[in-house]
């Protein structure tokens, strides 16, 4: 069941990786009724609804969703966690799995996202240039996290083109203002909402999440389209899926009109 690699215990950190793994082994019994989906944390709202809709269309089926930073989900899969479907926030994590033979067939892009600057209301950040001002506290994600690497690209784009008027040192200045590197976009979001950080770079879909939750006292600052990234989210059935047919049906469901409509409702665009 578990190969020797996955027996590595690295003290407390192991719990983060091993718990979903144990759960997936216990729960995912291959009885034709349950599906385990690993998905990027930015997909939380959308996939919860998609799972419900899928269960409604397929009575007797139960979909179990695991959300987290895509890089963490990838690590768990590499360590032997059992899942049927993986939906990642970027191609890097998915490609790594493809290379190692964890994916059955080919991944398909199912959603598009972009970035936006999230700032504390009534705080020091009211426009993009403020991110580089000395003394401002910015939270970003680790560049191994999809939103982290996307943020890096956006900052780079903003620094390169003089049309934005931010100067070539913009990215360096913003990075110098970084007070923490969070492991996923939700943690990042919370730090700004709690008022601990002045600003961070999150997904556009987080604006929908914030509106739905009625989160007050925050400000979303749009990033110029030309400097923004188009985050392509791939989805794939996994090689070791206990329920490959059901998994394929789920992927088709996500790609279908119903799935795409639900995704659009949460702020994602269709590819």
């Amino acid at each position: 069941m578990l190969d020797s690699t996955s027996r590595f215990l690295l003290s407390r950190q192991a719990k983060i990786f091993l718990l979903p793994m144990f759960l997936s082994i216990v729960v995912c019994g291959g009885d034709g009724n349950s599906l385990r989906v690993f998905a990027a944390s930015s997909l939380t709202g959308a996939f919860n609804e998609i799972a419900q809709a899928f269960e409604a269309e397929n009575p007797g089926v139960k979909v179990y969703l695991d959300f987290g930073g895509s890089q963490r989900m990838r690590s768990q899969l590499e360590f032997g966690a059992r899942a049927d479907v993986f939906a990642s926030a970027d191609a890097i994590q998915m490609d790594a799995l493809v290379e190692q033979g964890f994916v059955a067939g080919f991944p398909v892009d199912f959603a598009l996202n972009a970035l936006v600057v999230l700032a504390m209301g009534n705080g020091p950040v009211n426009e993009i240039a403020d991110l580089a001002r000395p003394g401002v506290k910015v939270v970003l994600a680790n560049d191994a996290v999809p939103v982290g690497s996307y943020s890096g690209q956006v900052l780079e784009n903003l620094s390169q083109d003089p049309i934005y008027g931010l100067g070539s040192r913009f990215k360096d200045d913003v990075l110098a203002n970084r007070v923490s590197e969070e492991p996923n976009v939700d943690n990042l979001f919370q730090k700004v909402v709690l008022g601990e950080a002045d600003a961070g770079i999150v997904y556009e879909t987080d604006t929908v999440k914030a509106l739905d939750a009625g989160t007050m006292n925050i400000l979303f600052i749009p990033i110029p389209d030309a400097a923004n990234v188009s985050a392509r989210y791939p989805i794939a059935v996994l090689e070791e899926a206990p329920e490959p047919e059901l998994a394929q049906q789920f992927v088709q469901f996500v790609l279908s009109d119903i799935g795409q409509t639900l995704l659009n409702r949460y702020g994602f665009s269709s590819p």
């Binding site: 020797s4 027996r7 590595f8 215990l9 690295l10 003290s11 407390r12 950190q13 983060i16 990786f17 930073g69 890089q71 963490r72 690590s75 590499e78 506290k137 939270v139 680790n142 191994a144 996290v145 970084r178 007070v179 923490s180 590197e181 969070e182 492991p183 730090k191 709690l194 008022g195 601990e196 950080a197």
Partner: protein, 274 residues
């Protein structure tokens, strides 16, 4: 009456079989993962590079410095507190006992959230501190705070038990002989309670070094300022297993060396004193 032949001797001592069996299982359960970690790390070609990399050394230095500061605070403030708890029978002392135990049962992440609620920018007293320019979250100070919060119970409990076991009798005798209370404490009580205190310090220090959840939540994760070894291991893990292995071995080695050192100090100084 134990029989002479080894088989009946073992059969007649159930504790021996069960104890022995338990010992073997335990050694395997704890030892195998540690061994596997060391073996896999040793197989890496760039192990030495990873171990001496900037990120690794920075994280190690931060872990060591913060844990030493935390322990200093815990010992300096915790010793008199533990003594007070040991000598007092009043209700407030019993309530204090529960408070001291609280960080032990509180999940570390919850501790981190709680500290944010208290010392964060919009926190209960954090907002006051903020107005006089003192920010705690996302600083090395926050790392020390987190470590003290989670590790102090280990020291205080142990020190308290140590003081309790010394008992008031020695102190009373000394005072009837005219020794001042301070001198009594330092020359009699403290040395007798020292073994328990050293044990508590060892546990507390190990706990502080391994602290992760509260640090992540309250202090954040930034190289050089708040990225302690456990946080560095987590970050490395998300990029590649190899880097994480090297860091894990470093932390393991550091912890073992520290505990061995502490153990030697305890035994050498206090051996022979009853």
């Amino acid at each position: 009456m134990a029989a002479l032949n080894p088989v009946s001797r073992i059969r007649n001592q159930p504790a021996g079989i069960l104890g022995g069996g338990g010992a073997v299982l335990y050694v395997l359960f704890i030892g195998l993962p540690v061994l596997a970690l060391l073996v896999r790390a040793a197989q890496q070609s760039d192990f030495l590079d990873a171990v001496t990399s900037d990120a690794a050394l920075t994280a190690l230095r931060l872990s060591l410095i913060t844990s030493v500061i935390s322990m200093a605070v815990v010992v300096l403030l915790g010793t008199p507190f533990a003594y007070l708890l040991a000598r007092s029978d009043r209700l407030w002392a019993r309530l204090m006992d529960s408070l001291v135990e609280l960080p032990l049962v509180l999940p570390p992440v919850v501790a981190g959230v709680a500290m944010l609620m208290a010392f964060g920018r919009n926190g209960l007293i954090g907002s006051e501190l903020e107005s006089i320019g003192l920010t705690i979250p996302f600083t090395t100070t926050a790392v020390v705070f987190a470590q003290i919060f989670v590790a102090s119970p280990f020291f205080i409990r142990s020190a308290k038990l140590g003081f309790q076991s010394v008992g008031k009798d020695y102190e009373d005798i000394a005072q009837t002989l005219g020794v001042s209370p301070w001198r009594t404490f330092f020359r009699i009580t403290l040395p007798l309670a020292a073994p328990a205190m050293f044990t508590g310090l060892g546990l507390a220090w190990a706990r502080a070094l391994s602290e992760f959840g509260a640090t992540m939540m309250f202090a954040g994760n930034l190289t050089g300022e708040t990225q302690t070894m456990p946080l560095a291991i987590m970050s490395a893990m998300e990029k590649s297993l190899d880097g994480a292995l090297a860091l894990s071995v470093m932390l393991l080695a550091g912890s073992i060396m520290g505990l061995v050192l502490l153990g030697l100090l305890t035994r050498r100084r206090w051996q022979g004193r009853s």
